[in-house]
């Protein structure tokens, strides 16, 4: 009898203890698995989507609202000649392996990214830097080749996070950073686990990323509550089903992904601006967004994110007008046009391709669809520029500068545009910079460099009790530092 009561009270205590401890683990689905975990040695967005702000930190960071905020640097100032920037570093920070963080780590990280044999995918971000000086452990001075107003923003990229010389080589499989979460386990092909670092000021004790790309499998995983949410759900067609289910919150936000029907500007007759404009007028963006994206996504008329303050709505310049498109084609003497559209694997590209093919057919352009894998897309389209048209989303933040690159796959060569971009990069004043961004958008729209389709939406679906998930994606990251379960 006594024993039974003892047992009963023990059970009661355990039950109470269970109830008192709020849930502090979360399992998130992610469509793509990263190839490795070193954001300074690969372009895969999936790397940043796991480690950015969670495991690795940079001198600066991009916040949820898209602004640049201090991270490992507490403050910074620029010299009057704009050729030297001084960053003051946070003190007392250590890496996960216990080694301390100071200016030498910053110097090491930047010089590693700049080195001859660097495999940093965004080497261009650091290109203006001539030298890194470390007057003391808490101060770093960047000497620049030319004024670069965007430097704090450049340093906020995942490719610019600070790594330690002791662990840089092994970050691919065992990432060691200064962030609040440390790497625990990676079961390739299935899941990756991060856990809270001792003393870190975050609510979650453990985060598991599950890699589920297949839309049907992802839907099933959410419905069965195998995962608590997707920061960006891979299938827009499943969203109505989650919206109707009170267990879930569906939050449609913005990304930095400009989806283009990219045009090879050098290939005849696409080198004729009238033909490119005709392609733009042939496309019914709203029908495209309804059909390929189930109505989610915002039409764009140039290469710029609608969530940026400098955005101009230029969709009117390439409004749907099949009649005008046919006239332009006739004027250019390209009446009987046969083109190919190379389609990379994502469903937005494959679906858009089928719809655009039908829309082009209405103005007399015969388009053949060629589905390719990323490997082939990178080689044929991106590297060898062997394509007529292709559909792809450019997901890097604020990447209008790619049109200024001579060797870029659009084959768009415009000296005036290049000069404009150079002025933007040097400009330190934000208002002035935004004016210049406006001019750049107008120039691309006028030249009809590409057919600008829509901004990819961020299709967030997560458990309704989960708080602090980012609604928008100003940077491709899953910043979990502010995420918690509601009581």
């Amino acid at each position: 009898m006594k024993l039974a009561r003892l047992l009963a009270s023990a059970l009661l205590v355990t039950a109470l203890a269970d109830a008192a401890v709020a849930k502090d683990t979360v399992t998130l689905g992610q469509a793509l698995e990263p190839p490795h975990l070193d954001p300074t040695a690969g372009a895969a967005a999936a790397i940043d989507e796991i480690v950015y702000a969670n495991v690795f930190e940079g001198l600066t960071r991009i916040a949820a609202d898209g602004s640049v905020q201090p991270q490992l640097a507490t403050s910074w100032e620029v010299a009057p000649d704009e050729l030297a920037w001084t960053f003051h570093l946070k003190q007392g920070v250590t890496f996960h392996d216990g080694t301390s963080f100071d200016s030498a780590d910053v110097k090491f990280s930047i010089e590693r990214a700049l080195a001859e044999d660097s495999v940093n995918a965004q080497k261009g971000l650091f290109e203006p830097i001539a030298a890194v000086e470390t007057p003391d452990p808490a101060t770093v001075v960047f000497r620049l080749k030319r004024p670069t107003g965007l430097l704090p923003w450049n340093l906020a990229w995942g490719d610019a996070v600070i790594v330690a010389p002791e662990s840089a080589e092994t970050n691919r499989t065992r990432p060691v950073g200064t962030g609040p979460f440390q790497f625990t386990e990676w079961r390739q092909g299935d899941r990756l686990v991060l856990s809270r670092r001792e003393g870190a000021d975050v609510a979650l004790a453990q985060v598991t990323f599950r890699f589920i790309a297949d839309p049907a499998a992802a839907t099933a995983a959410l419905m069965a509550e195998d995962v608590d949410g997707y920061l960006n759900f891979p299938a827009p067609e499943a969203l109505p089903q989650f919206e109707a289910d009170p267990r879930f919150a569906v939050v449609i936000g913005t990304t930095e992904g400009e989806t283009l029907l990219a045009i090879n500007n050098r290939r005849e007759p696409l080198d004729d601006v009238r033909v490119r404009r005709a392609i733009g007028h042939a496309i019914d963006r709203q029908a495209l967004i309804d059909g390929a994206m189930m109505g989610y996504g915002q039409p764009i008329g140039s290469h710029f994110s609608p969530s940026h303050p400098a955005y101009l709505d230029l969709t009117g310049q390439s409004a749907h007008d099949p009649e005008l498109a046919r006239r332009l084609l006739a004027e250019a003497g390209a009446g009987d046009l046969k083109l190919t559209i190379k389609l990379p694997p994502p469903s937005y590209a494959r679906r858009s391709g089928e719809i655009i093919q039908a829309q082009l057919a209405e103005v007399g352009i015969q388009a053949e669809l060629v589905p390719v894998e990323w490997a082939q897309w990178l080689e044929q389209v991106f590297a060898n520029k062997d394509y007529d048209l292709t559909i792809v989303s450019h997901t890097e933040q604020l990447d209008i500068g790619i049109y200024a690159r001579d060797d870029y796959y659009f084959n768009y060569h415009n000296r005036k545009f290049q000069a404009l971009i150079a002025r933007i990069e040097a400009e330190a004043d934000e208002a002035e910079r935004n004016t210049l961004y406006g001019q750049a958008q107008e120039m691309l729209a006028a030249d009809a460099v590409n057919a600008f389709l829509f901004e990819l939406p961020k299709q967030g679906v997560w458990n309704a009790r989960l708080e602090g998930m980012w609604a928008n994606a100003p940077i491709q990251a899953t910043d979990l530092t502010g995420v918690r379960w509601a009581e």
């Binding site: 490795h36 690969g42 372009a43 092909g189 049907a216 499998a217 995983a221 069965a224 490997a375 082939q376």
Partner: protein, 313 residues
């Protein structure tokens, strides 16, 4: 002697397959280094990475290195994950092998009894019903069964996980639970095939003279079945089982995608997309070797089961 010949032929097949595999993989278009660095890579960065990955060396040299490496048991390093291929494949095999075994268990455990049942009810309702079910099972794509199972058991009833694999570290039970639905999807069509083959084999033998004679001497139907029919029906059943193995592997590629299991099949699809040549080469060789080995095992087993074969040319 006959077995030795079979073994030698199997080995030869594997060696020939290895040549095919290497040639096939190295004409695949797409640069693995470009895949890793993506759209923002600069030419010098790309060249640095290609050097680091050894891709700048001539093809014959790479082939020689691969071959000698294979012989030494060094399978190389995965381009995608940067970990040894052996490690990667081993981690996936502990999902795929139990899945295949479980599916086989379902196929045999369901198919053979169903076939026996149908054979004993030959031309009666039980037979017709069983065979009708088997025909339908044979005609529905495995991944379609998988989708329906997920809808019912994972989303509807929430008895079993919709997919994924928690790892054997989490315990045997959760591991098995994760494999049950995919194993059913994979095993059911095979069970249907086995049921048909078993029924046919038994029916054929039961009407052979020696069985009839035995029965006329007073052997019951069940005894005749157990003593004569079953042992003699084994060779065709084993043959079909061996043939089915290859379909099991192929089916696994698709079913692992339906249930997002981190198995070998999904790794094949992944490593093609990512141009992870060392991993892909190892996987294809592994799968081909498995098919050859199973067929060899079946051949050898048949020689034991059916002594007549030993003397036939």
């Amino acid at each position: 002697m006959r077995s030795l010949l079979r073994i030698a032929a199997a080995l030869l097949t594997i060696v020939l397959a290895s040549v095919l595999v290497f040639l096939a993989l190295n004409v695949l278009p797409g640069d693995p280094a470009a895949v890793m660095l993506g759209t923002e890579a600069r030419p010098d960065t790309l060249a640095a990475l290609r050097r680091q990955m050894g891709l700048d060396q001539p093809l014959p040299l790479r082939w020689w290195q691969w071959l000698t490496g294979l012989a030494r048991g060094e399978l190389g390093t995965s381009h995608t994950y940067g970990v040894p291929v052996a490690e990667l494949v081993a981690a996936r095999a502990v999902v795929s092998l139990p899945l295949a075994l479980l599916a086989l268990l379902i196929a045999v455990g369901l198919g053979i009894p169903a076939g026996l049942f149908a054979a004993t009810r030959h031309r009666r309702t039980g037979d017709l019903a069983t065979m009708a079910v088997a025909l339908v099972g044979l005609s529905v794509p495995a991944f379609w069964i998988g989708i329906l199972l997920v809808l019912l058991f994972a989303i509807g009833l929430r008895w079993l996980p919709a997919g994924g694999f928690p790892g054997w570290g989490a315990g045997i039970a959760p591991g098995i639970a994760a494999l049950i639905l995919p194993a059913i999807a994979l095993g059911l069509p095979q069970a249907a095939v086995l049921a048909r083959v078993t029924r046919t084999a038994i029916v054929e033998i039961m009407r052979l003279d020696f069985v009839r004679t035995a029965r006329s001497f007073g052997l019951t139907r069940t005894e005749a079945l157990r003593r004569h029919a079953l042992p003699n029906a084994l060779p065709p059943i084993v043959t079909v089982l061996g043939l089915q193995f290859s379909f099991l592997l192929a089916g696994a590629v698709i079913v692992e995608n339906v249930f997002y299991l981190p198995g070998l099949g999904r790794l094949v699809v992944q490593s093609v997309g990512g141009r992870d040549l060392p991993t892909l080469a190892c996987l294809v060789m592994l799968l081909v070797t498995a098919v050859v080995a199973v067929n060899l095992a079946v051949d050898l087993l048949l020689l034991r089961l059916d002594p007549r074969l030993r003397h036939r040319g």
